[in-house]
Symmetry: D2
């Protein structure tokens, strides 16, 4: 979580102040649930809440230097602020009841911030996809001209992929919105399932099915996996922008703001630096999956090896992904598309992309596929090496003309036909947002 | 996919023969759909299917050495077996229409094989969890004695985690059961959405929302992520078996078959080698997530960099995970549990796990939490260093007795009370299988 | 290790037969060392060696099914072939003495096979780098035209990177060429450092500094890391080939063999499939680093979790990397370079790459850098947007002409000057092979 | 880089202030080298240096918000502080000349800080290894009692592994201490190899063999790999501490400071939290290897995707590893070892570890190995199941006594003999620090 790649709301979200505030929220929810069950005198939580304790992160960290235990340090501080009533807090609970329920809240809410941004990105993509759904473009496989698509179709494909990413994050969000108030080793020795259910419900969480001392870490690993899949979807889009913008292609370009300088030595350069940046950040988000998976196999009823990992990756990954989504949205909205250049590149493909139509026509006419392939290939190869155009070569190839006639050949060279279904595909995709 | 870690059905599943058989199935399904739409004469597919072509993988690979193109090699072979009708196959299609729809079938079916095994493992775990749901055990956090649990509760926790793994795999299975019959760059230039839908439905697949030349690779990455999460769940179980079996713990042990030898030098040894093996294999399954994620960002309408990765990880990961599930099931079923030793270890904890009950009683009596903590700690520490038992120390501590009285102290030392909710937790977990 | 990506010598190298042969070699070397120290009667090893035992992998695996222990199965088989003398084998040794010393031999020798291939690749690159060291090319940063380089310079950069990869592999090769003959937990309880040193020297190995039951696994992790770095260097080269070959660039192309077909639907296509394949395989090799690192932290004096990982990654990674090196060498040797197209692309950059020379001349003339930058940028931007050429715009810009005069402007547009040092760089790099 | 896991000197080392200071150092070194070559008037650098420019990170970042280019922002700021002379800075250079040479300095110096800490850890380990080189301990393989070792031997093994880690980091340190002053695409178009060599020598760096716009990223990946290997070595040590400290083992324990509290619910607990923390942090350091490797394959003469990755992992990984080394040293120095418990656990193994000695004696007496194995096993198994001790069972086994006699049996049970070579092994290892 470095300032450069952290949205402002995430700086606040992962602050010490916020964390301790959420801890107190959890303690009070648990306390109220215990009041309801008669384990704690009525009104304790309400009374403490009413005091609006001015929690001091600095003071808690000071206590922690002595106790080497964060939750005890926190409770000591709460006790020094709230007085004798505070002894009712944390009754029968273990530190992880607070820590893991609070982490669930923080991760759930960070995920919600991510989902809001993902929706915004999807909307931006939908607008641009519709805008360019009829802008012809040469499709490329292996970086080599293939058959025509439209620019909007390409964008719709990215929309579809990000829509799938959203669905996975939503599923993982349900998995992570799970806390525990179940005591030292998850047995409710001094608590009860009813207390836990009530406390967690107040926090918008469900209860862990079987707690150990902690909430199971496969839930967190699943969340980080869903984030990595979203980052990979962004990486694919950013990679394509980089291709579209390269000098020889020039089909689309990141917006270039006034005052921005591309290079200290080559002032004419407009580099796709946002897209390259997104590709790098995708590596960062992806890299968190392995440690998150390694965190799962805690020993017995838990060890604390997961904790240092989460202290680093939870803020880093959520804020980086949020930043990526914001940046991608800006990129999509500002993307400068050059239909003229798109058309030029399409034309440079020399209509070779109609070879499939010719091939099919030859097969339709009764020629075995492999023979037809040879006929098409020889005319295509000549055109490719600069000898005539593909269309003219075919029209001059007696064997081809004998089979198809000039009219059928002409019908094969039809861009509208090739793109006839694109509108449907794009709309089908955008409907799934 | 090495023989040692490959179940027999996976050897067959990922064979060349099987792959080419599935390719033919896809071609025929597409052909039939085109017959229905009038693009191909009626009866072609049925006629080819009736010939029960004796596909030869060897012959196809021979063709591939010349053409350097697998699908063309395959079609050449089909044409040499089926004759002139074969020219109708693959009409308007691109190689990836076949390859990706076939891969979808193979991955879907491999996933189904995995899900069957996962169900069997869940059943085995449920039986053992119920068997030992009242077998007391000392819970451990940080490897240190904490509070009592039961052996069945520990197993139920693993059951719950694997049940979540199952749910994720089921979701990813839906994502991967997606093919495409959409032509060179996904535009249906010589096909139609209707043909695709009909062909894929016959194969039990859905259509990719927006194809490029290929089905989008985030789907595959999601599947491999779900496998890694399952492997991590197994790793946690296997890690615990290794702990339970270690000499000083001795609470449970892998079944040791007649004739098996633990060590060439130390014949008395019974080593948890299955569990250790499972931990290693979990690393293998986990390692596939990164390349699967790196596969997502294909260039433009596709490059083929994903293909070599998938040729290796698709068979490796699915067969390794299936092997792991089989081995874990055998491990669970054969696990030798030692209730006597479990009880001995519980007793070695010296009832210190009742410290929380004493702490709560002191707080209940009106003492601030941190003061109560000091009282409990001093008696616990003495017991821990070998000076008296925790219970007797408390009974001899005037300050404690003054607060609680001997009767309340005695009530705090109650194992049944500590485990009162375990039955509910276990049954709640098993109900979620 | 799938046939498609496995060189023939690696198929043999990682066969069961080879492994058991190496095991026997280790046992006999250890036996001879013990003979020298008087622990075993003289001549035992020579006598067994003379029998040229017809080891049967099938028979050993059969024994293993009963014993569930590979080395005991092997020794049982040796005993049934060699008779009573075989009882002297393995004296005071533990299975890992054999397994780990044998693995060291196999990995060392596989590494040597890799190094031979890497040398061949370096030679091929050197030839092409020299061939094209004066072939001008537009350098690109961010995919955008920057300043001129030469094609040979680009190749020399890949040569330098692979030469570094070689040095790292050589260092890791020394680390892995380490065995142990130190008994159950590395204490030489029934052996001695002298026996170990003698036996290992005969095998071309050094002794582990401190063995546990096994050779330490950081050595293996270091080897796999060095392989991943080599694969990454190949990936960078392959990525560049893919860029050079893309339709709009067309500067270089993979050799296309007679009979090869690029696409079933678009017969004119020549796709950089070798390069794409290499990028995919680099992901596979890279993916082995994480499990290799996870293998390091074995419990106490060892657990066997590393074994399953190594059974898979040792053959997979070494053979895949060897395959990659072979393929890259073929790619380099066959690479079709198009100097005409290189020149055309250079020209498309419109001499904007001389902007730096103009900028420097302006600064030299006394203008502050940021002012000069503005002057250069305005002329460059006009040219970039199609309004005149950069050179002509400058010549028509009164402010520029006033500062520099037309002669100095002309001197700034000098390609030979820009590339004056390239020869030195290339030769300096190739000297480091 | 979160405060919790960042040593103070690393906070400063990776600050904006430090970075800009190093940038200026690089610019001035380059300027002086150009002065020497006559490209810049003599004395410029000295004059600027003499001004001790009060660089303001805040002001530079402000400029960057407009220019979106960090080095241009920096130069603008230098120009506003240093005046007209500053126009001579950066002459003929590209941003990456500054950035990459500065990064080389920062990474080299961070590595040196790490190496100092690693030496301190090795010294601490050496002291404890010697202290306990004769403290007997039961060796364990698979977590099961094997044969005796000493506690010092175990520590010496960790020392040896960390000494290897040091050697790798030293090698990677040489690789990373490489800069470039070679211009836009590494051709020295307006510079020269001589200028570069002089400037870099003044900075303690060597020149990149073949630069693109940047220094090649395999160097950085190699550095991060060496760090991951060091972290893995620490992880193995920390894992063993966790095992040694667990309740049932109790052989060694992390120092527990006054005031420290193990658990809010179980005040008697002393948890190996430092060791668990180290295991978690090892995952973090390991996770950086993959993105560092992915950074290698930059496009053409560079893209900037590596930059965001390095901004995060360079500070994170170096500071985390430094923190780990500090913490491990503290852990080693404070480790409380319990020789009495070590001996008790050794005794619990029931002398079964002498089985190998008996086996060898039987083989020596002429019995085939597999027969001897059966004899040993039956007595060992009885002892293991609680029926007699291994020694007494053997003395009562007529077949064994007939072969060996009671005297030989007695000689086999000799701990000093089993540990005779340990002193040599430990000293041999420590000599390699």
């Amino acid at each position: 979580m470095i300032p450069r790649y952290t949205p402002a709301d995430f700086t606040e979200h992962w602050s010490d102040d916020k964390r301790f505030e959420v801890w107190l929220t959890v303690e009070l929810a648990a306390c109220e649930a215990m009041e309801h069950e008669g384990l704690v005198p009525k009104g304790i939580a309400a009374s403490i809440r009413a005091k609006k304790l001015p929690l001091s992160a600095a003071r808690i960290l000071e206590h922690e230097r002595t106790t080497k235990h964060d939750v005890i340090a926190f409770l000591t501080h709460v006790e020094e602020l709230a007085g004798i009533d505070a002894r009712w807090l944390h009754r029968g609970m273990t530190s992880s009841d607070v820590l893991d329920s609070a982490l669930a809240i923080l991760l759930r809410d960070a995920t919600d911030k991510i989902l809001v941004r993902l929706d915004a990105l999807l909307s931006a993509l939908a607008i641009r996809a519709r805008e360019h759904k009829k802008t012809p473009m040469i499709g490329r496989s292996h970086g080599i001209f293939a058959e025509p698509i439209t620019f909007g179709l390409a964008l719709a494909g990215h929309h579809a992929e990000l829509a799938r990413a959203k669905k996975r994050i939503q599923a993982a969000r349900e998995e992570i919105a799970v806390g525990k108030i179940a005591g030292a080793v998850g047995t409710y020795a001094h608590l009860s399932p009813a207390i836990e259910a009530r406390a967690l419900a107040a926090l918008g969480l469900k209860a862990e099915t079987v707690s150990t001392q902690v909430v199971a870490r496969d839930r967190h690993a699943s969340l980080f996996s869903s984030f990595a899949l979203c980052a990979a979807a962004i990486e694919r889009f950013a990679t394509n922008v980089r291709h579209w913008q390269r000098s020889e292609v020039g089909e689309a370009e990141e917006a270039f703001t006034a005052g921005q300088k591309g290079s200290s030595a080559m002032p004419h350069k407009r580099n796709p630096i946002s897209s390259e940046n997104l590709c790098g950040l995708a590596r960062i988000v992806r890299a968190a999956v392995a440690p998150a998976l390694e965190n799962v196999a805690l020993w017995h009823e838990r060890d604390i090896s997961h904790s240092s990992v989460e202290r680093m990756i939870a803020p880093d990954v959520t804020s980086t992904l949020a930043f990526m989504l914001d940046r991608t949205k800006t990129l999509v909205e500002g993307l400068v598309v050059y239909p003229k250049r798109l058309r030029e590149n399409l034309d440079r493909a020399g209509e070779l992309y109609f070879s499939e139509a010719i091939l099919l026509a030859l097969v339709q006419s009764g020629m075995p596929r492999q023979e037809a392939y040879v006929l098409v290939q020889r005319n295509a190869m000549r055109a490719w090496s600069g000898d005539g155009t593909f269309r003219k070569n075919l029209q001059a190839d007696n064997e081809v003309v004998a089979k198809l006639g000039n009219e059928v050949i002409a019908q094969c060279f039809n861009l509208d036909h090739a793109l006839a279904h694109v509108d449907l595909i794009v709309e089908r995709a955008l409907a799934k947002g």
